[in-house]
């Protein structure tokens, strides 16, 4: 994969995943700071949502893997 356009694509996908999960974590932290007794529920929901966002990022990582040998 080194040096192909697929590597650039994989990097872009990581930006998307990082942004998405970062925003999610920020809002979760705010929620926990507002109401510390709801920590367990917020943590559970945050973990589930993070797994789903990561799923979307990994779909595109698989597509980048398929395109390893084509392109520049």
């Amino acid at each position: 994969m080194v040096g192909s356009l697929a590597a650039v694509g994989a990097g872009l996908v990581t930006i998307g995943a990082g942004l998405g999960i970062g925003l999610l974590a920020a809002k979760a932290m705010e929620g926990i700071a507002r109401q510390p007794e709801a920590t367990a529920k917020i943590q559970t929901a945050m973990l589930i949502a993070a797994a789903l966002i990561e799923g979307v990022a990994l779909f595109c990582a698989i597509i980048c893997l398929i395109g390893i040998n084509s392109g520049a």
């Binding site: 994969m1 080194v2 040096g3 973990l47 589930i48 797994a51 789903l52 990561e54 799923g55 990994l58 779909f59 990582a61 698989i62 893997l65 390893i68």
Partner: protein, 264 residues
């Protein structure tokens, strides 16, 4: 580690071959320096699936027999398994499917959860390989969800109710057709995405781990601290194993519940 067949390739291609060799399905079982050739009808992933399912059957079978023959409360590993079983039945099956359907479909949800968990965890043990990092395996599991979503609903509510669930009332006629088309396509897409999510998560974990070890292959002994990065990825993989089993089961129950009890 480099076999004779990879001598002529560049370093980058050697690392790529190393990574791909360890994550893909192969006709021989490769344990360290030994290559065990498997018979015609078996590949490594299929062999792992057989080992995993027979282990699960033996485990739960022996605990079931112990459960119905003694009066004491369970302890130790038995207790942990019962906690997990109750968790899947109450928090996933009954929570998303309602009381009656939840109890009826609980065996399916439990099978999904423990099967996927076992297959994922087997990939973390050095000698075995991950069954769920094969798209065919996860597609087979998603096809089960799809079959329950379509044929199960038709058997339960009747075929007319199945199609009318895709057309929410209170919306003018032409848009109804579009929504029907989108919701019908949505059933296929939901099942496909279930398979793809599980497959991609498991495959990516292993590729990340072997790529990090590939740094060791490229730079030799001076890249030794990379092993700690690999250890971190390894820990992350264990988390992903549990989490993805839970997510697959929960989303299956959610989608089936949405089609069984349409409440637009």
């Amino acid at each position: 580690m480099a076999s004779g067949a990879t001598e002529g390739l560049s370093r980058a291609e050697q690392v790529q071959e190393f990574v791909m060799h360890h994550v893909q399905d192969a006709p021989n079982w490769h344990i360290g320096p030994i290559e065990i050739p498997l018979p015609e009808f078996l590949t490594v992933h299929l062999l792992m699936a057989i080992i995993g399912t027979s282990f699960l059957t033996w485990l739960f079978g022996s605990y079931y027999r112990k459960r119905i023959s003694t009066e004491k409360a369970p302890s130790g590993f038995h207790n942990a398994l019962e906690t997990l079983v109750l968790f899947v039945r109450d928090e996933i099956s009954i929570a998303y499917l309602g009381e009656k359907d939840g109890k009826r479909l609980a065996p399916l949800m439990l099978s999904f959860f423990f099967l996927i968990l076992t297959f994922n965890l087997m990939g973390i043990i050095p000698v075995f390989s991950t069954v769920t990092s094969n798209l065919s395996a996860t597609a087979a599991l998603a096809v089960l969800t799809f079959v329950v979503m379509t044929f199960g609903t038709v058997l339960k509510n009747g075929p007319k109710a199945f199609f009318s669930a895709f057309m929410p009332h209170g919306i003018p006629f032409p848009i109804n057709i579009l929504i029907f088309f989108l919701e019908f396509l949505g059933v296929f897409i939901k099942a496909g995405v279930l398979a793809l999510r599980l497959f991609a998560n498991l495959l990516a974990g292993h590729i990340a781990l072997f790529s990090v070890l590939g740094l060791l292959l490229t730079y030799g002994a001076v890249a030794f601290p990379v092993i700690f990065l690999g250890l971190f990825v390894y820990m992350l993989e264990i988390l992903v194993a549990f989490l993805q089993a839970y997510i697959f089961t929960m989303l299956s129950a959610l989608f089936i519940g949405q089609v069984f009890h349409p409440e637009h």
